[in-house]
């Protein structure tokens, strides 16, 4: 077990792409602490699988170094890094039984047979497949197969980390929940570093202690689920996390307040950095309050439609020319002539998509 340090990693799939400046990973400088549960969250093609494969050694980064603890493993092959990886589609060895599948990584490493026997028994119990130990693995269901993949990783008790590459994609919804609970349980028990790649925010937020949000080959924010929700460092994070995502509107900044279509909105961090390009205001729908027009400090909006999602309603409205969503609790009346007020503490200002930090 070790801390995984990514030291200024950059990766392009071919030298030509690198020369053209077209990097799949632009620059990652980050450490995964020993024993942490991390999620790499981002849309398809943002580089999260590339990053995962660089950690496991299936890819060698074009630039930068990876260290496990003090050891530089950049040039080491996957089997030398002592790492486990669970893939999107369950990988099992068809002709072997469940028990043989679990024993495979141990046999390859010439672990003594009694030790293999003991660990395989134990792991069968942990993943709940004791009764199927002698069945051929090919006849099992997708979630059982995925449990085997997971077990093959965990059976080597000394792995540095377990990497998950969207492991629940092919699993039925109700089994997803069961498997995720199993993962959390195993993490608590073994305390090994787990890195979990997903594009599903629910999966990421429920699994991980820290979520690494990636966008277009870059890490845009690393934080706890609360931090990602309250202070998205990049408009992409605001938009990607939360349902519906954060409202992002073009604005101007004058005398400590943001202006949208001539209306003044008090904010926490209203100051335009010198030379800033595009200024945007972000506010989560949870912090937009719908009030009657004429309420002091409110901004008039026109309501386009209301979506009832059961526990609450999503009001789609327009403020000036900008689209805006607001969450209204079930049972609360909707004013005929609507206006909105913003919770000033929840308003974030962005310059060129990046959060303008508060003055110290």
């Amino acid at each position: 077990m070790a801390r995984i340090r990514l030291d200024h990693i950059r990766h392009a799939y071919t030298p030509e792409l690198a020369r053209a400046g077209n990097y799949a990973l632009r620059e990652i400088d980050h450490a995964f602490e020993d024993g942490g549960a991390y999620a790499l969250l981002g849309p398809s093609g943002c580089g999260k699988t590339t990053l995962l494969n660089i950690i496991s050694g299936l890819l060698t980064p074009s630039e930068g170094h990876i260290r496990f603890g003090e050891r530089d493993v950049t040039m080491l092959a996957p089997e030398q890094r002592n790492i486990a990886q669970v893939f999107q589609f369950p990988v099992i060895y068809d002709t072997m039984t469940v028990a043989q599948n679990l024993a495979f990584p141990l046999r390859n490493r010439r672990v003594p047979e009694p030790e293999i026997e003991r660990r395989v028994r134990e792991m069968l119990g942990r993943i709940g497949l004791e009764t199927k130990a002698d069945r051929k693995a090919r006849g099992l269901t997708a979630d059982e197969k995925q449990k085997i993949s997971l077990g093959r990783g965990l059976v080597r008790s000394d792995v540095n980390a377990i990497l998950f590459d969207e492991p629940l994609t092919v699993i039925d919804p109700h089994m997803k929940w069961v498997l995720r609970s199993l993962l959390k349980e195993l993490h608590r028990e073994f305390r090994m570093t787990m890195v979990y790649v997903t594009h599903d925010q629910t999966e990421a937020l429920t699994f991980a202690e820290k979520v690494v949000v990636m966008y277009d080959g870059e890490v845009v924010q690393i934080g706890t689920p609360e931090e990602l929700f309250e202070r998205p460092r990049h408009t992409f994070v605001g938009y990607f996390i939360g349902s519906p995502g954060m409202n992002v509107m073009d604005c101007r900044v004058e005398d400590g307040a943001a202006l949208i279509g001539g209306e003044r909105i008090p904010t926490r961090n209203a100051r335009a950095p010198s030379g800033a390009g595009k200024l945007e205001l972000g506010i989560r729908p949870e912090f937009v309050r719908l009030v009657a027009r004429g309420t002091p400090g409110s901004l008039p909006v026109s309501v386009d439609k209301v979506e009832d999602i059961g526990s609450e309603r999503i009001v789609r409205a327009r403020l000036g020319g900008e689209k805006l969503a607001a969450l209204v609790p079930e049972g609360e009346g909707l004013p005929a002539d609507a206006a909105v007020t913003f919770d000033a503490a929840a308003v974030n200002l962005y310059a060129d998509s990046w959060l303008i930090e508060e003055r110290a």
């Binding site: 996957p78 990988v91 060895y93 068809d94 002709t95 002698d134 069945r135 006849g139 993949s149």
Partner: protein, 295 residues
């Protein structure tokens, strides 16, 4: 949903029945018809019962041809299947060489049987053939026209040259369909090259290998044109396979009765052997779930 019962729907399958009737059933029944009758010409036929079948099954000539055929099929399967797998494993999986390799592999398959025969017939001649002449120049005693062993070697090498590509292409199709994740998982599990082959590649190729074995068995068991062109069944009867013998009986001697009986026995042997191959190979790797579910 309410289903409509209308027996007129059977007319819809009539074209298929007619087609199958004319293309398969009627020709086959003609053979069956000949096999149980005798004739002395003039289109006069007499009932012969199982006479021809008894004669064929006890004929030494038929036994010899059958054994030669079985030996031939066994040898070419033993060479072409492993060789095909090896070549498929060695072929590139991506890049510009893939189409080049595929076209090269497909080339022998595009050559008509009798042309293949002619190529090797000339190729092996000691006077003008490149192979035969080179062998002679090297002091090797090679002559497929006179030496039965040389004749067999020539026919086998020719078949391997002609048909290994088919096995290669089928295996290659099986190999490229394996997702990368399997190889990556094997790497992470620390599997050796042999283990990757034994536990990933071979099981994933199982289905296509079954097809390859069946196709090559059936085809080699029915081989006619190439050995006929190269050796004409000789020297002596050493390369006279069942089909060559059959043609000699049917067309050469015009014994349609025995020839028809022989055809049917021949057909049933191929059917039986194919069924055995299929059953054995499909059961080989499957889960014995009935027993497994017991405990």
């Amino acid at each position: 949903m309410e289903k409509t019962w209308n027996n007129k729907a059977w007319f819809m399958v009539l074209p298929v029945l007619v087609l199958v009737g004319f293309s398969a059933v009627i020709p086959l029944m003609t053979v069956v018809n000949y096999s149980v009758q005798d004739t002395f010409g003039n289109n006069d036929f007499f009932w012969a019962g199982t006479e021809w079948f008894t004669e064929i099954l006890h004929s030494q000539r038929f036994h010899d041809a059958l054994i030669r055929n079985l030996a031939f099929s066994a040898i070419i399967l033993a060479i072409e299947i492993p060789l095909g797998i090896l070549v498929a494993l060695a072929m590139p999986k991506k890049g510009i060489w893939v189409p080049v390799c595929l076209v090269l592999m497909a080339l022998p398959l595009l050559i008509p049987w009798n042309v293949v025969g002619t190529i090797w017939q000339v190729f092996g001649r000691t006077d003008i053939g490149l192979l035969g002449h080179t062998m002679a120049a090297l002091g090797l005693d090679y002559n497929y026209v006179q030496d039965p062993v040389d004749a067999w070697v020539t026919v086998i090498v020719m078949d391997v040259w002609h048909w290994t590509s088919l096995v290669v292409l089928l295996c290659y199709a099986g190999l490229v369909s394996i997702p990368d994740a399997f190889y990556q998982a094997a790497k992470i599990d620390g599997a050796s090259r042999w283990a990757v082959f034994r536990y990933i590649q071979l099981p994933k190729m199982g289905r296509v290998l079954l097809i390859a074995v069946l196709l090559r068995f059936m085809d080699s068991f029915m081989i006619y044109t190439e050995p006929f062109v190269v050796t004409g069944g000789g020297p002596g009867n050493s390369t006279t396979f069942l089909s060559i013998d059959l043609v000699k009986v049917a067309v050469g001697q015009f014994d349609v009765g025995p020839a028809a009986a022989m055809s049917l026995v021949y057909f049933l042997i191929i059917l039986l052997m194919s069924w055995i191959f299929y059953t054995v190979m499909t059961n080989a790797g499957t889960d014995r779930r009935d027993e497994g579910a017991g405990h």
